[in-house]
Every structure is written in structure tokens, then in C-alpha cells.
């Protein structure tokens, strides 16, 4: 049993190190949210619903950060490792198949926690964000746990897209989704058409949940956001399971 625990621990450790050492991943997942928050969140003194914009946008850029860490952490690495035949070698080895996915999940969650931590530090130090200790925890918890549906989405994408276009495809999905979902600018500052589409984006619901922890009223009740995110997770996992089996079916069918 200790042997199995050791496999999971090593698989996770090296997955995390691998991502940390990959400049493209570290820059995309940590650099962009921090840079965007610095530009849009810290440099204006605007208010929204009585909150400083730096506080409001801390929640939404936090959501942007964890969505990116999850989509890229899962999607790009699964697509690359699958395309190169690496996943096949892993499957032929005695590695427990679940270890591969658990390692990626823990690694992506760790990156989510890091990007949220860095954004919090930035907001508190330079953005004048003051929150009660419990509120910090609630916001951080909502963001890190709320990243899980996007890990499932990344996994599904990793099985569906080709390794060569993985980064481009995920950017093409992530950037417009984040904008429409109101993660870059408050939803009510967006054009009315976009405000109408926003609730169809999974990231919108994460953003609204995060905002609700800092007292921003959402147009929908909080449990609706939770339900949508749960349903979205189930859908993404079904797609991933289908693609996984189709993948196996090409060889094992």
C-alpha cells in the first residue's frame, strides 16, 4: 500500500515540477492574471456597487487565474502527452491509471492556489483591498474549489484537440469566455448583448460565486451558480470519459 501512495506522491510532485519549469505555462497561468489585474484593477480608482474596483476585480481576476491554470494545466499537457505517445507508454506501465489524473488535478489546484495567493498579496499591498480574515478565506476557497469544473473541461479538451493546436485552441476558448463572463470588466459595464450571453458561460458562474463572497449581489441566487457549475462538471467529465474510451477504442476496441 505504501508503494501505491508513493506512486501518487511522486507522480504529483513531478507533474507540479514539470509545469513549474515550463515557462510557457508559468507565464500564461501566473503572469497574465497578475498583469491584467495590475493594469485594470489597481490603476483606477473607480467604484462598482460601492466597492472599490480593485476589490471587485480581485474576485474576477482570481476566477480568470484559476480557470487558466486549470484549462492549461490539464488541456495542454494531456493533449501533448497523448499526441506524443507518452500516455500510451504510461498505460503500458504498471502505473495505476488514476494516478496520472490525480497528479494533474492536485498540480493544477496547487497552481490555482498560487495564483490566487499572489493576486491577494497584490490587492492587499497595492490595491488597498481590505477584507475580514474570514472573507479572504471564503473568497480564496470559492476560487480554488470553483476551479475544479475547469479541470474537467481541460481534461475533455486534452482528449479532443490535437497537440499542435492545443495552446491556440484553449486561448481561443479561454479569452473570449473570460471577457464575456465579466472576469476582466464587471458584467454590468459590458454591452447589453454580452450581458445576455454571459449566464451561458461556465466562467460567469464562478465569477458570480466569487463576487458573492465579498458581498456583491448577483442577479441570480448563489445556489443556481453552484448547480450550473456542478452540471457543467458532469457534462465535461462525460465528454472526457467518452473521448477516453474512444481513444482506447482506437487501440482497444
Amino acid at each position: 500500500m505504501t508503494n501505491v501512495a508513493n506512486i501518487y506522491a511522486l507522480e504529483t510532485k513531478f507533474e507540479f515540477l514539470k509545469q513549474l519549469r515550463r515557462p510557457a505555462y508559468a507565464i500564461a497561468t501566473l503572469g497574465f492574471p497578475l498583469m491584467f489585474y495590475a493594469f485594470f484593477g489597481l490603476m483606477s480608482g473607480l467604484h462598482n456597487n460601492g466597492l472599490s474596483l480593485s476589490t471587485y476585480l480581485l474576485a474576477t481576476y482570481g476566477a480568470f487565474g484559476v480557470v487558466g491554470a486549470s484549462l492549461f494545466g490539464f488541456g495542454v499537457s494531456v493533449a501533448l502527452e497523448r499526441g506524443a505517445g507518452w500516455l500510451l507508454l504510461k498505460r503500458a506501465s504498471p502505473m495505476p491509471p488514476l494516478a496520472y489524473f490525480v497528479a494533474k488535478l492536485i498540480s493544477a489546484t496547487a497552481f490555482s492556489a498560487i495564483v490566487v495567493g499572489l493576486l491577494f498579496a497584490m490587492g492587499a499591498l497595492f490595491g488597498g483591498v481590505h477584507l475580514a480574515a474570514l472573507t479572504w478565506l471564503q473568497l480564496g476557497g470559492a476560487l480554488v474549489i470553483g476551479a475544479l469544473p475547469f479541470c474537467a473541461m481541460g481534461l475533455a479538451l486534452g482528449y479532443l484537440i490535437s497537440p499542435n493546436s492545443a495552446v491556440a485552441v484553449i486561448n481561443v476558448i479561454n479569452l473570449p469566455m473570460s471577457f464575456i463572463s465579466g472576469l476582466w470588466l464587471p458584467v454590468n459595464a459590458l454591452p447589453p448583448v454580452i450581458q445576455q450571453i454571459a449566464p451561458f458561460m461556465p466562467a460567469y458562474h464562478l465569477g458570480q460565486l466569487a463576487l458573492s463572497t465579498i458581498g456583491v449581489q448577483s442577479p441570480q441566487p448563489w445556489y443556481l451558480h453552484v448547480l450550473v457549475l456542478l452540471a457543467f462538471t458532469a457534462a465535461a467529465l462525460s465528454v472526457a470519459a467518452f473521448a477516453y474510451r474512444r481513444d482506447e477504442g482506437e487501440t482497444y476496441g
Partner: protein, 242 residues
């Protein structure tokens, strides 16, 4: 019964009706080194995948150590080298070996694996900074690090220069002398002749000749394996056409 590999009337038909392997029966006894030889598209890789439990036979049965090849007890006794386009970037040679060693119950010491694969001086180098030949040695290291009883190597020397190829032969010979059962595929007749106790010649999914290198040469009536290969695969092609 206790042969490490048994293929019993195995065929593999892919969706679309392409027959990759047809009615192959093959036993590989312990300690034998078998070369699976054949032209591109002959079915070598499909056969290897069925042995590894990565592809399911359409008919027939594959047994590895008298188990389903997907069984973890079977996988714990197999080391594998596949044709990998790229290893994930960001891990050193030593880290790759440490991770794969953890999958096995009684792996070799990391230092011994490094030595056997001639990677001692490269242990702390990232895998993405290795040359083609060095990367192939790392793939070999991942196959042997668990000290498996059976090594399955799919084109281990593909795209290697002559020097690296000969060096890898030496490493395979060391494993062979330790009593490992080894199955490898190759295009190089010379390689099969140099390493294998036995050659299974595959053409169009069928085993068209099976025996020692000498027996295969004798059967084709030529001293050169090259000529035997051409003679035996061509006969099969003609049969198929007629």
C-alpha cells in the same frame, strides 16, 4: 504453459476492415530473444500493442505470464519501449527514472539503471535537452528500471545513427545475458541477426517464417538474411495476389 508470451490464433481487424494481424500463434519461452521483423505496415506494432494489453485481439487470445496482459501482475513484470515522438519537457533523466522505478515492486537501484543505459553523466540533464540517441537511451532506461522479466521493445533503434545503434545492442545483450526474455521489432535484418535467437518474419499480418536466423536463411536457400527476407516476403505477396 509458463511461457512469458503466448499468442493463440490472434487476429486484429481495425474498424473499416483493415486486417493488421491475421491468425498468429506464437510462444516465446523464458530467456529467449525474439526479433519481429517485417516491412512497414506488416503488423509488427499492432502485435506489440496486443502483447502489452494496449490493443485487444479481434479473435484469439494473448497471454502474458499466463495472465491477461492488462492485469497489473503481468504489467509489473514487463518493461516497455515504444516509439515516443516526444517526452514531456521539464524533468531530468534521473527524475524520469525515479518516477518509472516507483511503479515496480523491486526496481533496480537508480544508479544501476543509469549505468546500464549509459546515462550516468547525463543524470541531471532535462530530457528535452537530450540528443536523439540519448533520448532513446532514456527510453531504454525506463524499460529496464523495474528489473522486469520481459522486455518489449518497439523499434528500439529506429532513427539512431550506427554508433548509437551498436551501443544499444550492447546494452540489450547485457540484459539478455541476465536471462531476460526480450521481444523487439526492427527493420534492420542485421540487427535481428546480431541480437536474436529467433526471428518471426511478418508480412501482411501473418507470420511467414519463424525460426533461428540460420533456419530462416536455409529455408529461403540463401546465406544472406537480406536475401531471405526479400524472398520470403515476396513469396507471400505473390500468394496474396493470386
Amino acid at each position: 504453459m509458463n511461457d512469458p508470451i503466448r499468442l493463440i490464433g490472434v487476429s486484429k481487424v481495425y474498424p473499416g476492415g483493415i486486417v493488421a494481424v491475421r491468425d498468429c500463434t506464437l510462444n516465446v519461452p523464458a530467456g529467449q530473444t525474439l526479433a519481429v521483423l517485417g516491412p512497414n505496415g506488416a503488423g509488427k506494432t499492432t502485435m506489440i500493442r496486443m502483447i502489452l494489453g494496449l490493443a485487444k485481439p479481434s479473435t484469439g487470445e494473448v497471454r502474458v505470464f499466463d495472465r491477461d496482459p492488462r492485469d497489473s501482475d503481468a504489467r509489473l513484470r514487463i518493461g516497455t519501449m515504444l516509439q515516443i515522438a516526444e517526452m514531456p519537457a521539464g524533468m531530468t533523466v534521473r527524475e524520469h527514472i525515479t518516477l518509472f522505478s516507483s511503479y515496480y515492486v523491486r526496481p533496480l537501484a537508480i544508479e544501476e539503471t543509469l549505468k546500464l543505459a549509459d546515462l550516468e553523466s547525463l543524470a541531471s540533464r532535462r530530457s528535452e535537452r537530450l540528443s536523439g540517441g540519448q533520448r532513446q537511451r532514456l527510453a531504454f532506461a525506463l524499460a529496464i528500471c523495474g528489473d522486469p522479466d520481459l522486455l518489449v521493445l518497439d523499434e528500439p533503434t529506429a532513427s539512431l545513427d550506427i554508433e548509437s545503434r551498436v551501443a544499444l545492442w550492447e546494452q540489450i545483450r547485457i540484459l539478455k545475458n541476465r536471462g531476460k526474455t526480450i521481444v523487439f521489432t526492427t527493420h534492420h535484418l542485421h540487427e535481428a541477426d546480431a541480437l536474436a535467437d529467433r526471428i518471426a518474419l511478418i508480412s501482411r499480418g501473418r507470420i511467414v517464417a519463424d525460426g533461428t536466423p540460420d533456419a530462416i536463411k536455409a529455408r529461403a536457400g540463401t546465406a544472406e538474411l537480406e536475401a531471405a527476407y526479400l524472398a520470403l516476403t515476396r513469396v507471400d505477396t505473390l500468394e496474396a495476389i493470386s
